[in-house]
Symmetry: C2
C-alpha cells in the first residue's frame, strides 16, 4: 500500500477538480495526468484499483472540503438563517468564480454512478452523512430540537445540491440566490429554545456575511490571476 507521495496527492487534487467539472466518464486518465503533471505510468502504481480508486480518493477529499466550508460559514453567522446565507455565499462565490463549471464536488459522480457502483455509492453516502452531521450540529447548537435539526439538514443539503444544478444550466446566479434566500427566511423563523441564541463555534464572528469570501485554492477553471502555484 503506497503511502501518500506528492505526485499521488497532486493526482487526487487534479482528479477531484476534473470530476467536479466534467464528471467521471468525461474525465480521462490522460486529463488527470496532464493536469497534475504526473507521469502516465504512475497511475496504476499509486492507484492499483484504477480509475475507481482514484475516484474514491477524490470523493473523500470532497468530504473534507464540505466540512471545511460548513465550519467556515459557522464562523461568519449569528443564527441558523444567517448560517445558511453564509454557506450560500461561499458556494455561490465558487460557482461564479469557476464560470459555472464547479458545482458540488460529488453530485455529478453520484448521478452517473449511484447506485450501480456499490463501493462509490457507499462513499457518496458517507460524504452526505458527514455533511448532514455537520449541519445538524449547527442547528442543534442554535436551539433547534434534534429530530427537527435532522429534517432541516436534509432540506438544506437538497436545496444546495439542487440549486447548483439549476444555476449551472442557467449560467446565472439568480435562481441559486433566490432558493437560498427563501430557505434562509424559512429557517430563520424556525422555533428555537430561547437560551441558546449564541451560535456555532466562533464567538467573535464579525458580521461580514454577505461579503466576498476568500477564493478557493484549487478552483478557477483556467489560469486567471497570479495567486496560487
Amino acid at each position: 500500500m503506497p503511502r501518500s507521495t506528492d505526485s499521488r496527492s497532486r493526482m487526487i487534487k487534479a482528479a477531484a477538480q476534473l470530476f467536479r467539472q466534467r464528471g467521471y466518464h468525461a474525465t480521462a486518465f490522460s486529463d488527470v495526468v496532464e493536469a497534475s503533471g504526473a507521469p502516465r505510468g504512475s497511475i496504476y502504481f499509486h492507484f492499483p484499483g484504477g480509475k475507481q480508486e482514484l475516484a474514491r480518493e477524490a470523493v473523500a477529499l470532497a468530504g473534507d472540503e464540505i466540512e471545511q466550508m460548513v465550519a467556515e460559514a459557522a464562523g461568519h453567522c449569528d443564527g441558523p438563517g444567517s448560517f445558511v446565507r453564509a454557506l450560500g455565499d461561499l458556494v455561490a462565490a465558487r460557482l461564479e468564480g469557476s464560470d459555472y463549471r464547479s458545482g458540488c464536488a460529488i453530485s455529478t459522480m453520484v448521478l452517473e454512478l449511484a447506485p450501480q457502483n456499490e463501493e462509490l455509492s457507499s462513499d457518496f453516502e458517507k460524504v452526505f452523512e458527514r455533511w448532514r452531521r455537520a449541519l445538524v450540529r449547527q442547528f442543534e447548537a442554535s436551539g433547534i430540537a434534534a429530530g427537527r435539526a435532522t429534517d432541516l439538514a436534509n432540506l438544506v443539503m437538497s436545496v444546495f445540491e439542487g440549486a447548483l444544478v439549476v444555476s449551472r444550466a442557467a449560467r446565472r446566479i439568480d435562481s441559486f440566490a433566490a432558493a437560498i434566500e427563501a430557505l434562509a427566511e424559512f429557517i430563520e423563523h424556525e422555533p428555537r429554545r430561547p437560551e441558546t441564541q449564541s451560535f456555532g463555534y466562533a464567538t467573535s464572528a464579525d458580521p461580514s456575511v454577505g461579503t466576498r469570501p476568500p477564493p478557493s485554492r484549487t478552483e478557477q477553471g483556467s489560469a486567471q490571476s497570479p495567486g496560487v502555484p
Copy 2:
C-alpha cells in the same frame, strides 16, 4: 428534416431513459440501438447532428414529462403544501420503482455538459423555465403573490433536484421524504390571499394524495411486471 417516424421516437425514448440513469457519456449509441431495437444504420439518418441531436430530443421529451407530472400533482391536491407532497409522491414512486436509478431526467446531463455545451445548456434552461412557469402558475392560483411564487418555485425545483441526488446515493427514500415534507410544511404556512383557496386545475380531486400513483410508462429499470409494451 425527417419527420418523426416510429423507430426515431423509440430511439428518443430509449435514449431519454438511458441518459436519465447513466448520464450522457456512459450512454453509447449501441446501447440506444439495442434498447430501442432500432437498426444501427439509422442513427445518422434520423439524427444527422449525432449524439448531441439525440440528446436534445431527449431533453425536450423530459420537459414534457415534467409538465405532465406537475399537472397530475395539481389534480391531486387542495393547496400549495399538499401540491408539493403530491409531486413528491409521484417522484418518489418513480425513484423507488426504478431501484434508485431514475432520478431527474436531465440533471445528470446538466452536470456533465453545462455550461460547456452551449446548445444543450440552452435546452436545459428551457426545461427548467417550463417547470418554473408551471410551478408559478400553481402557486399564484392558490393566492401567493407573483414575485413570491417565483422564489418559491426556484426553491421547490432545487429541493426536488437535490433530494434526488442525495437519495440516489443513500439508496433510501428517507432523506428525500424528509426534505419534501419539511418543504411542504413551510409552504403550507405561506401567506395567501384568502379568496383563492381553491387550487389548481382539477376541482373534483379525490384525496388519494399519499397513495401510490400510476406507474410511469417507460421507466422501471428491468422487466418488472406485465403492463406496458
